[in-house]
């Protein structure tokens, strides 16, 4: 996902409609400073879930950056609502979740809410830009099921777990990682605070 900070590649966020949800004024200011610096102009700033719902119901949202809203984690419920209830096209909107700290009781809620990716505070602007670019990739499948609605979380096909026979058709085309690498990759992804 690494982006060279000196990259001359151009990215245009000027016409993107961006939803920001953060309950703390300073948290919102930080988000605004980052995304406007990156070139976004069309922002929907929401301090609570109700106003965020109104923004989603009244506008096409191209990108959403949603805080988990501790301590209750209402941000996860909002994302779940957006995936299941918002309707097209907003149910497909790339969603980046931000979190300060995830209580153990909310880990599965965070994993299953349907966000494209979760980033942990503090996050520098380059992390936000990298995740925006990554979340916008068009080749990622989107899954509707009884228990989960959101982007396919199996975004790297490394086959079934070691010692387990694959059950899916894709398992036969998987490229297994070299010995010992799968575990370390999972660990480093967790350290980076990614979903």
């Amino acid at each position: 996902m690494g982006l060279d900070p000196n990259s001359r590649a151009r990215f245009n966020l000027k016409d993107a409609s961006v939803l920001l949800l953060d309950a703390t004024p300073l948290g919102m200011t930080i988000l605004v400073q980052i995304v406007t610096g990156l070139g976004a102009k069309n922002l929907h700033r929401c301090a609570d879930v109700e106003s965020a719902r109104e923004a989603v119901e009244g506008n096409q949202i191209d990108l959403a950056i949603i805080d988990s809203l501790p301590p209750e984690g209402a941000g996860y419920d909002f994302v779940r609502w957006m995936r299941r209830e918002a309707g097209e096209p907003n149910c497909y909107t790339p969603i980046i979740m931000t979190t300060s700290h995830t209580p153990r009781s909310q880990i599965s809620q965070a994993r299953d809410c349907g966000a494209n990716i979760i980033i942990r505070k503090p996050f520098p602007p380059i992390t936000v830009l990298e995740r925006i670019i990554w979340s916008s990739k068009e080749d990622r499948k989107f899954l509707f099921s009884d228990t989960y609605v959101g982007p396919d979380r199996r975004f790297r096909n490394i086959g079934p777990p070691k010692g387990v026979k694959g059950r899916r058709r894709e398992d036969f085309t998987a490229t297994p990682l070299p010995q010992g690498e799968a575990g370390s990759e999972a660990a480093s992804a967790q350290e980076a605070g990614e979903a």
């Binding site: 700290h101 099921s145 009884d146």
Partner: protein, 158 residues
């Protein structure tokens, strides 16, 4: 029976990002970074305010108190991310540790005044930007030991 349906939606964001006229990434990143620099005084002020609120709650806690621990957690979690913006990134690490501790205490319905007190004192110490990096690392190592002593599960972040 669980049913699943896949689709590959068209992302308007992908098209917008490719629209000509956007700034080079290096320039956009520099602009975003300089936007953040001006927030430093605000971040320091907010961290001070949150620490004062946390210390006030701590001063009145005498044992397990669900509401009091929730207030402490609230003050601590709101501070995460601000330390980095005011040049004291170790504050964020200490606040993560404090949130892990408070989450553990809330889950177990217990209270460990000494463990909480050590974290709050560390917060106050680390907020001082004059503290050398080496000193900050020693403080954080001390917090790790305290958390281990009280059986706090490590890092659950995602």
């Amino acid at each position: 029976m669980n049913t699943a349906r896949f689709t590959v939606p068209k992302q308007r964001l992908a098209q917008l990002l490719r629209t000509p006229g956007g700034p080079p990434a290096a320039e956009a990143l520099a602009a975003a970074q300089s936007n953040l620099v001006v927030l430093k005084p605000q971040c320091i002020g907010e961290l001070d305010k949150l620490l004062a609120a946390a210390e006030a709650v701590y001063a009145r806690l005498t044992g397990y108190d669900e509401q009091g621990l929730a207030e402490l957690y609230d003050a601590s979690v709101r501070g995460i991310g601000l330390g980095d913006l005011c040049g004291a990134g170790s504050v964020d690490v200490a606040l993560h540790s404090l949130c892990d501790l408070l989450d553990h205490l809330q889950t177990q319905e217990i209270y460990e005044a000494e463990a909480v007190g050590v974290h709050l004192r560390a917060w106050r110490l680390l907020i001082s930007t004059e503290l050398p990096q080496e000193g900050a690392q020693q403080v954080l190592a001390g917090l790790n030991k305290v958390s281990a002593k009280y059986g706090v599960p490590k890092g659950d972040e995602g």
